[in-house]
Structures are given as C-alpha cells and as structure tokens.
C-alpha cells in the first residue's frame, strides 16, 4: 500500500515533453490511475495506453499526430468511449488522444442546411443546439446523451430514427481530418472523384482523426405520432414488423423490446411500458395529420392481425419523451440485472427477422443464458443482450461464444455482423465470415496507403490475412477484340479470366458500359453489356441486386411494376450511373447497400448485404461512386428500394476528373499495377511508372495487440 507514487510511462521523455509543449503539462496524463481509466470503453476489452493527451483545438490534434507520427508511436482518438466493440481501446499501448474538449458548434448555414461541429460535441448537445432552429440531426444512437459526433462518424452510427432517415454517413457532408502522418485535409462530398468522405465515415478511426465535421441537418417533422403496441409473444411482434415493411409503410421507427428489457427500464424511469411479453414502439412523422393517421391505422391493422393486445398512443410530448427515454436507456438499464451485458449487433434482411429471432432464442436456450431482446426491428438490426458477470471467467467464455454464434446465424441468413456498433476488437475475427480473403486484403491495402506504419488505431477492424499459397498462373486464353478495341465477355467468369490475364501482362485497359455519359479513352475497353441481369429482387425487404451492365431505365420500370421504386435516375447502365455519380438527388450514395467489384488484379471483392444497416469493414462502394472506371469493374450493385416514388429526380452531367494525390493513393490500393483507365482521368504516360512503384504490401501491420485471452484465437 505504501509504495511511492511514480510517474511510469513507456514513452520517451522527449516525446512527452513535445506533447506537453503542444497541449500544456496538465493535459498529458501518464499516471497509472489515469491510464487505467483510458483502458476501456463500454464493452469488455481493455488495454492500457502509454499516455493520454487532451487537446483543446483541432490544430493541437494536428500537431499531436505529427509529433506521434515522427516518433512512430501508435495513437487512438477517443470520444466518450461509449463504444460497444472496443473501438477506442488503445492496442499496442497507443497514446490516447481524448477529443472531449473539442466542443465547438459553428453557425447554422440556413441555405445549405448545414452546421459545422467539432469532433467532441456530444450528440445530445448538438440536438439541443438545433432545437430552437427547428432542425435535427437524425442519427440518434441509444447512447446519444454521452456519445460524440466524432464517435458517431467513426462507427457510422444509427439509432431508432435511421429506419426512415438513414445513418450518420447520410449526414456527414464534409470533414477536416488529420491523416496518420499529421497532414490535415479538408474534404467535401461534392469534391470531384471518389466519395472519400463517405468512405472515411465508418472507418473507426483507423485512417485518420477527424477533428471537424460539416453535417447536414433536416427540419423537424411537423407532426409526430407515437404508439406502443403490446404482444403476447415476441414472435408476433417481429412478424408484425416484417409485415409492416412488406406492406410498404414508412414509419420513422419500429423498435421491439421483450419483457426483460421492459422490466429493467421500468424499474428506473417508470416510462409507462405495459407488462407484456413484447412491445413495439412505433413512430410515424410527417407534415400531414391525415396521412399519419391513415398510416397508423394500417400499422394497427397489421399488428391486430398478428395478435397484438393493446395499441396505445402517447398522449403528450412528455409521455413521448418518457417512452423514448425508456427505449434509449435499455442498454444502461441492463446493468440493473447483472454487472455486464454483451450486446450483439447483427443485421438481417427484414424478411428474415422471424428466423433470426428463432435462432437467437435457440442459442440462448442451448447455452442456458439470460438474453434480453431489443431490436431496431424496422431495419433488421438485432441487439440481443446477454447479461452476465465478467468476474466469472467460465461464464464469460460461454457468453462470448453465444454472441459469436448469434452473429454467425445472422450471416447465414444473408445478414451481417454489425449494423451500427462497429467491429473494433470485438468482432474483428468475425469479419472473416462476411468478407473474402481478397476483400480483406483490399481493406488492408487501403489501411496501408493511409497509414503505412500502422499507427492510427492499430490492429482494429481487419483480421490478419495469411499470404495466399503460390498457385501456378492459369493458362492464357484467347479473347476477341472488336475493331473498336473493345472486348465483351459473355459472363462474369470470362471477364474475371480476361482481367486476370491483363493484370499478369500489365496491359492497360478501360471499362465501358453504354458510354452514354463519357468516352473511355483507353485502347482496350472491357464492356459490361452482357452482365445485364437482375440477380435478386426482394420487394418485401425492399432491395434489388442488379448487374452493372443492366440498363437503368428498364430496371426502374420492372420494379415499378411491383409497386417498388428505385431512386436512381438517368439513362445508361447501372454501373455507369454509379461510376459517374450522375444521379444526384436523391443522393445516390445513400442508396447503395452492397457491391461486388472485379479488381484490376483479377480478384473479386464483395462488400455489403441486403441489410439496411451495415458497418462491417470499410465502405469501399463509396469509393466506386464517381470513380469513372479508375478503381475496379463494378460487377453488381445492391440498392435500397422504396415503396413510393421519390419527390425529386435530379441527374447531372458529370465528367471524368483529374486524379489528385489522395486519389492516386487510393487507386494504388485497388490497382497496384496502374493498368486501369489511366488516360481517362488525365494520367499521362510519365505518371504511370510512379503509380507502379511503392506498391503497398497488404501483409504489413496488423500484429495482434494486447487483447488478452480471446477464445477464438
């Protein structure tokens, strides 16, 4: 007890002095007690940092990153540490950069409906600042009372209202981010070329530290109707949700909770939830009372048909707020039942919700665990919460196993491992279930071009991939080149073989769809015209998967015949629409749920699923937006559909862009040999050798850090 207090830090004293010179002596912490308090987030994994720095301005963040990068010390940005996946836990004894003092909120831009905020602003504080302006920021994660905008952007956070309004990436229109080498850059979504902003949102702080954001905000709906529906079984409740979505209704939220959740919440705030086996919190909002009433009526009919008991409206704003406080406190309230709760975050297509529920219940029963069910049911995002006590190591192991099995069940149903919480440490190994080795290698290359030293939130997100076994190259094939220099493979398999061969021979080529928007300048052009089928149309789940060469207008017409609407406008092919980012309103970037691409290395990368929310892995499809054929061949795209027509449909004429430094770096990750469409985007012959040198090694970085005993390792 009586040992003397010592300042222990594994950091070099010179670096400490540099950090102190930037933020002041008091804002650099390295006492063991302080380090202990920066070792955790709201989940289980822990690792001590070597120091904590608390900057007060974005400029200080830049200086800190620069100093740390020079000393090659890993670092991690941390907001409020409400993460549920180990996101801000400092592996490799990284230095924690605490963002909590960056609290600035800028002036509201009335014309663009945008507001600038610093990364440490608490979500709820922003909502409060917007309230008097009649605006709101739709992402409303359960932790909104504490979580920061920086954290929201890092995990592409959702929340109950994203069913109707979409997730964080829909609302981040610009950012100032310090790259891992200490270089600050400003990005906006209108910048020509790849949607880098969209790509960085959800990258979990592994590609840089964002210090400021420009957020799009929207007017608060004029009328809101909130109702609480009770059911005798959770199955009836979930079936109602699936039916409401399939019926083409558009509620703002559909939140399902079981009895365990309701009881824990009621014990603290007495929100007025009924003692039922399951409840559904439904909210509709809009401008017209009649429309909402009719929607609510249809929802009620569906619920009654599925055996609902009580359908009760919130009678006042106070009652509504109370109901929401209850819902948002569900995770926190679990602490009343046991010291720890493992909350999983799988997502499935909405039609698979009843099956996913059955699987989860089966796993819980088999392993004899107490599980509380809390679902963002409307977008198929499941939060089973397993309660336990981490002090019982054996039990903890079983709980983790159960969590993994539940995620696996979601994946097997065509879903994903994380709808909104992120991957962090917790689900890193599970990434293998949803991504192929080639896709993981693409992620790793992308990480490497941003962060070659693996300094920025190291060892998160991407599992280690082993080097592929050397296989002899396949035999060359003959393919027919038309008089115009174009090749039109008959199917995906042939296209893959051809591209593989071009890669081996380092032959330059371009990609062409219908060339209705721009002309491809390469001598050899691969045409996607034969890849023109609809692969999957799921009207009940409101999704469609369609090949890149399919004509957009025909696809639009065919879904409209079923009462569903694809909000991508203009002529030409599907792939062309994505590659040129021509359909601007509604924003195309918010409509893409998944994508398969053929890399100019001959490998196929697969991203996304038929789920409304998906934050697993880097959002690579965003980079293909506006890529003008410079990154990869789009094979097929999964779009979100709507049960009603869009109010707007704006198509802009866009043209190929000149690749700047950042674009070239990103291109390197996709196209290490620099063979894809160089001329189309203004790369000259002299640029080409530059592109080929310094190919990032995808196997560098990513040693397993200090994460304790993980049962799957």
């Amino acid at each position: 007890m009586a040992k003397p207090t010592q300042a222990v830090s594994s950091l070099n004293p010179k670096l400490i002095a540099e950090l102190q010179a930037i933020v002041g002596e008091k804002s650099v912490l390295f006492q063991p007690a302080d380090l202990h308090l920066y070792s955790y987030d709201a989940a289980l994994d822990r690792a001590n940092p070597s120091a904590v720095v608390l900057p007060s301005t974005p400029e200080q963040v830049t200086q800190l990153v620069r100093a740390l990068a020079l000393h090659k010390r890993p670092f991690v940005a941390r907001g409020a540490a409400t993460s549920l996946c180990g996101g801000p836990v400092p592996l490799k004894n990284a230095v924690v950069i605490g963002m909590s003092r960056l609290q600035g909120i800028g002036r509201f831009d009335k014309i663009r409906r945008e507001i600038a905020v610093e990364a440490g602003v608490v979500n709820l504080n922003l909502q409060q600042a917007l309230e008097p302006l009649g605006m709101f920021f739709p992402p409303d994660p359960g932790s909104q009372k504490a979580c920061t905008i920086g954290g929201n952007a890092a995990t592409n956070a959702g929340g109950p209202h994203c069913l109707k309004y979409g997730v964080t990436s829909h609302y981040v229109v610009g950012m100032e981010i310090v790259l891992p080498d200490g270089q600050p850059i400003h990005l906006r979504i209108e910048d020509p070329g790849y949607d880098i902003v969209g790509f960085l949102v959800g990258s979990e702080g592994t590609l840089g530290i964002a210090t400021r954001f420009r957020l799009k905000v929207i007017p608060k709906p004029i009328v809101v109707r909130t109702a609480l529906v009770s059911f005798n079984t959770i199955e009836e409740c979930i079936q109602s949700v699936t039916d409401i979505i399939a019926a083409g209704l558009n509620p703002a939220t559909l939140e399902a909770m079981d009895r365990t959740v309701v009881e824990a919440v009621e014990a603290f705030i007495q929100a007025g939830y009924p003692q039922a086996e399951a409840v559904l919190l439904v909210e509709v909002d809009g401008d017209k009372v009649e429309e909402l009433d009719s929607q609510m009526k249809q929802i009620e009919e569906i619920c009654v048909k599925n055996g609902s008991q009580e359908f009760r409206y919130a009678k006042s704003e106070a009652e509504r707020v109370k109901l929401w406080d209850g819902r948002r406190g569900a995770y926190a309230a679990m602490a009343r039942l046991a010291p720890n709760v493992l909350v999983e975050d799988g997502a499935v297509p909405r039609t698979k919700l009843p099956q996913a529920l059955a699987e989860i219940k089966k796993i819980a029963e088999e392993l004899d665990l107490r599980v509380a069910l809390l679902f963002h049911a409307g977008d198929g995002n499941l939060h089973p919460q397993i309660i336990f006590d981490e002090r019982n190591a054996e039990h903890t192991k079983v709980v983790k196993e159960a969590g993994y099995r539940m995620l696996k069940a979601c994946v097997d149903l065509g879903g994903t491992i994380s709808g909104e919480h992120g991957i962090g440490i917790d689900k890193r190994e599970a990434m293998r279930w949803v991504f192929t080795r080639e896709t993981l290698m693409l992620f790793r290359r992308l990480k490497n071009i941003f962060d070659p030293e693996n300094l920025c939130n190291p060892d998160k997100l991407i599992p280690l991939v082993s080097k592929p076994a050397a296989v002899p190259p396949p035999e060359d094939i003959e393919f027919k080149v038309g008089s115009d220099g174009s090749v039109t493979p008959a199917d995906e398999a042939e296209m893959t073989r051809i591209v593989g061969q071009l890669a081996r021979k380092k032959t330059l080529f371009g990609i062409g769809g219908s060339e209705s928007r721009f002309r491809v300048k390469e001598n050899l052009v691969i045409r996607t015209s034969m890849l023109n089928r609809v692969l999957d149309f799921d009207p009940a789940n409101l999704t469609i998967t369609v090949q890149a060469g399919a004509p957009l207008e025909a696809v639009r017409k065919s879904v409209e015949a079923e009462g569903r609407y694809l909000w991508v406008f203009g002529a030409g092919t599907v792939g062309g629409a994505v590659a040129t980012r021509a359909s601007v309103a509604p924003p195309l970037r918010d409509l893409i749920l998944g994508m398969r691409i053929l890399l100019p290395t001959g490998e196929i990368a697969v991203m996304g699923a038929k789920t409304m929310k998906n934050v697993a892995g880097y959002d690579v499809p965003k980079l293909l937006l506006g890529s003008f054929g410079t990154l990869a061949i789009i094979l097929d795209v999964t779009f979100r559909l709507f049960p009603y027509a869009s109010k707007e449909s704006k198509v802009e004429k866009t043209r190929p862009f000149i690749l700047k430094d950042m674009h070239r770096r990103i291109k390197k990750a996709f196209d290490p040999h620099g063979i894809l469409s160089p001329r189309t985007c203004g790369l000259t012959e002299t640029d080409l050798p530059n592109i080929e040198t310094d190919v990032a090694d995808p196997f560098r970085g990513g040693e397993v850090g200090n994460i304790g005993d993980r049962f799957w390792l």
Binding site: M1, D41, A335
Partner: protein
C-alpha cells in the same frame, strides 16, 4: 480480467469499509451516460474527473488492481458529491456515496491531514470555540488585514486562504444566535428540555399540560446562517412567526456534513450522535432547516449507522422530523401571505442546490412559494440540473476547478436576464455571488427565506 476474488475483508484491512460496496460498484457497466452530466468532467474533459472513471477506480481499489490509493486520490477528491450522475444512471450507482467511502479508505491508508483533523475534531463540534475563532478572523477581515495581505502579495502564499477570502467578501461580526430574537427562543428550548426532564421525574398532570403547550417545532440553525448570513436565519425565524408557528431554537452543533465530505466517518458519527442527543431531548415534532445542504445531511444520518440498529432507528426518527423550510412554509400557508405581497424587482431565477434536488428531491416547493408572489416572473435557468461547483469547502480546496464550473453556471444564469437569483443553501449562495462578481454582473443572489421575508415586509 482476473476472476480472483479480492483479499477477504477483515477489520484490520482498510479496504473493509470499501469492499462492502463491491456489488454496488460492479453495477456500473461503463455505459458512460453519466459523463455529460458531471460538472467536473464537463469542465475538464478528463475521464479521471468523470463518475464512470471514479467508479472504475473504486472498483480497481476493491479488486486489488491498484496498489497505491494515493494514485486515485485526485480523482476521488474532486467529486462534488452533487449526485447528478446517480439521477441519470439506469442502475443508480451511488457515486457520491462511493466517493465518501473511498475518501474514508484513503484517509485510513494515508492518514488525515492535521489541519482537517483539527477542524473536524476540535473546532466544528464546539460552537463556542468556533464562534471565537471566526469572530477573530472576521474582525481581522473587517480591519482590512485580508485586503492588506492581498495588496502586499502575502495571500499568494496561501491560495486556499485567498480563495476563502474571495468567496466571503463580507463577514458578519454578529452571529445569528447573538440576536435577542433568537436567543430568547434558545432559552425557551432549554426550558422545554428542563420541563421534559421534570416531567419524566414527576409525571404530574401540571407538568404534562405545560409541556404540551410548549412549541413542538424546532429551528435548526445551520452554520451558514449562524456564522455567515445571519440575516437568512433571522428571515426564516420571521417567516415561521408570520405563519403562526411557535418554535424554539434548540442547542445543536454543526450537522457534520464537512466530515462526511472528507470521508472522516468516525467524526460524522460523532456529530450525528451529538445532534441526535440534543434534539431528542426537546421531543420536537418538526425540525426546520433553512439550508438544503444541512437538511439533506440530517436526513442522511442513518446511512452512517449501518450495523448499529439502535442508532439507526434514532437517526431514522430524526430524518422523519427534519423538514426543509420551503416545503414547511408552503404547508403552513405562506403562499396566501405572499399572494398579497408586491414584487417590483424584475425577473427572478431559482438555483436548485444539489442537496435539494438530488439528495432530497425537492424542487417544487420553493418555486411554488415564489410563484405565489404577484408579478414575479420566474425564469428557468438553462442546465438547471448542474451543480454550481461550490460544494462547501470544494470552492476553496479546488479553487480553479470550482471557478471553471461556476463560470458555466453564471453564464447560464446571466442568459436568463434575471435580476435576482434565489437559492436555498449558503454554500451555493457564496459560490454564485463570487462567480457573478467575477463576471462583473450585478445580479443579486439571495437565500429563499431572506427573499420572501424582504418581499413581505415591503
């Protein structure tokens, strides 16, 4: 994540008293909802100053993962004990209680600083000594010694003294119990006690009837109104008189809240025992307290006597009788008097002391009283749920942090455009006044009874 149980508590182990909170602190699942409500976290952005961080330190201490309690002391000592975190915590982790226990633990392993021990053991429990000392200090202040010290730069060497001096720009030379109006009622209280003793001995009908005619209401004089703002105590007394309540001012000592704040638990029990003894003698039905901080602590005595059923019961009985002055006056019909008063002084804001809103869940009564005054416009203060950062001696010991917290509070108060802030604890009153002075504001801070009495006597 070791599964080993912590060392078994024994009476010699200083962890003993802390270890009994093992389950309580384990209920913090680190969700972080509390952070954005904690004034010290908001002021510093530092996890070590957050409720979640503080709870995790206590957990580490209990689980034996931190070998040096001194490491945790800064974090644990800077908690304001306001209790707001618990009010937003879904598992209601009692951080303030845990901090008191943790301070007790640190005291046991580090020892109590001599100055603190002197104050808690030799000064506060002895009203005569305390009066003498404070009078000497206040006379010195009145003679301009502190101003002189400030000018000569001498104060720089005593930052705590300087902060205290700043917090207390004017000090009374006459204390509350010196006023004949109060002294007379102290005599009556003594008489009542004597009568009660006689009655116990004689059981005569005459004695019984005498005692039944004697006042059953006691006015507990808090140190704040006794030594710092006697006008507040006088106003309370006048208001009680106005609503026709017959009362006495019994002998009592400091409630002992400072001892609890410093985690000196044996002292807390000494203060509690002394007051329970003194107050039981008068067989009162209601004990009126006009300072929310003291009121909350009097009601909380029982929690310090866990495992002592006899004292626990007595403490519970005292808590039952303890009444906050606003709700008592409201119940006795003061609103009807106020309805006839006149207020011409501009908009008014109300500041809820934490010990009122969190410890006693008391926010409505003072607002109802103020609302009863015609023409009085009561403006809500943004972030009214936040502590002002006064917290007794916190303002002096952690002066810089306290000032940062006050700054945010004062900004919110000034944003309302009010002319007067009313509150119900002298600690808040001094803190707000100091903060407003620094902000060059002329908003006046007034204790609720003082405000009501002034309004009624216009």
């Amino acid at each position: 994540m070791s599964a080993n149980p912590p060392t078994p508590p024994s009476s010699e182990n200083p962890l003993h008293d802390l270890a009994k909170f093992e389950q309580v602190v384990a209920a913090c699942n680190r969700c972080g909802f509390c952070t954005n409500y904690c004034p010290t976290y908001k002021a510093t952005g530092n996890e070590s100053y957050s409720p979640r961080g503080r709870n995790q330190l206590v957990r580490a201490l209990i689980e034996g993962k931190m070998w040096d309690a001194a490491q945790a002391s800064e974090s644990i000592e800077t908690c304001l004990l306001c209790g707001e975190c618990t009010s937003v915590c879904f598992s209601e982790v009692p951080t303030a209680k845990l901090m008191v226990a943790a301070r007790h633990f640190i005291n046991r392993s580090k020892g109590i600083p001599r100055g603190l021990s002197l104050m808690l053991k030799q000064l506060l429990p002895h009203p005569r000594r305390l009066s003498l000392l404070l009078r000497a200090a206040f006379v010195a202040k009145a003679l301009g010694l502190s101003a002189l010290a400030r000018r000569t730069g001498l104060m720089k060497f005593f930052p705590a003294l300087a902060a205290a001096d700043e917090q207390l720009p004017r000090a009374p030379l006459r204390f509350l119990r010196d006023y004949p109006f109060i002294r007379q009622r102290t005599e009556e209280a003594l008489a009542k006690v004597r009568h009660a003793q006689v009655m116990a001995a004689q059981k005569s009908a005459a004695a019984v009837s005498t005692i039944s005619q004697m006042p059953t209401v006691a006015f507990f004089t808090a140190c704040g109104s006794q030594y710092v703002r006697p006008e507040t105590g006088l106003a309370t007394a006048r208001l009680l008189e106005r609503v026709g309540v017959k009362f006495v001012v019994p002998e009592a000592i400091c409630c002992g809240l400072p001892a609890a704040s410093y985690g000196v638990l044996d002292s807390v029990r000494q203060f509690a025992r002394a007051n329970i003894d003194l107050l039981e003698k008068g067989r009162y039905e209601s004990i009126i307290v006009d300072d929310s901080s003291c009121g909350a602590h009097l009601k909380d005595y029982a929690s310090f006597f866990e495992g002592d059923p006899k004292m626990s019961k007595r403490a519970h009985e005292l808590a039952q009788k303890t009444r906050d002055v606003s709700s008592f006056l409201l119940q006795k019909g003061l609103a009807a008097h106020l309805a006839k008063a006149k207020w011409l002084g501009g908009p008014v804001a109300y500041h809820d002391p934490c010990k009122a809103q969190y410890a006693q869940k008391l926010t409505a009564a003072p607002r109802e009283l103020l609302g009863a005054i015609p023409n009085l416009k009561l403006i809500p203060v943004p972030d009214a749920d936040q502590c002002c950062g006064g917290a007794g001696t916190f303002a002096v010991v952690h002066a810089e942090l306290s000032r940062d917290i006050a700054e945010a509070k004062v900004k919110n108060i000034m944003s309302t455009g009010c002319r007067v802030v009313v509150t119900s604890s002298v600690s808040c009153l001094l803190q707000l006044a100091a903060g407003l002075r620094r902000a060059k504001s002329n908003i006046e801070v007034v204790h609720i009874t003082d405000f009501l009495q002034r309004t009624l006597s216009h």
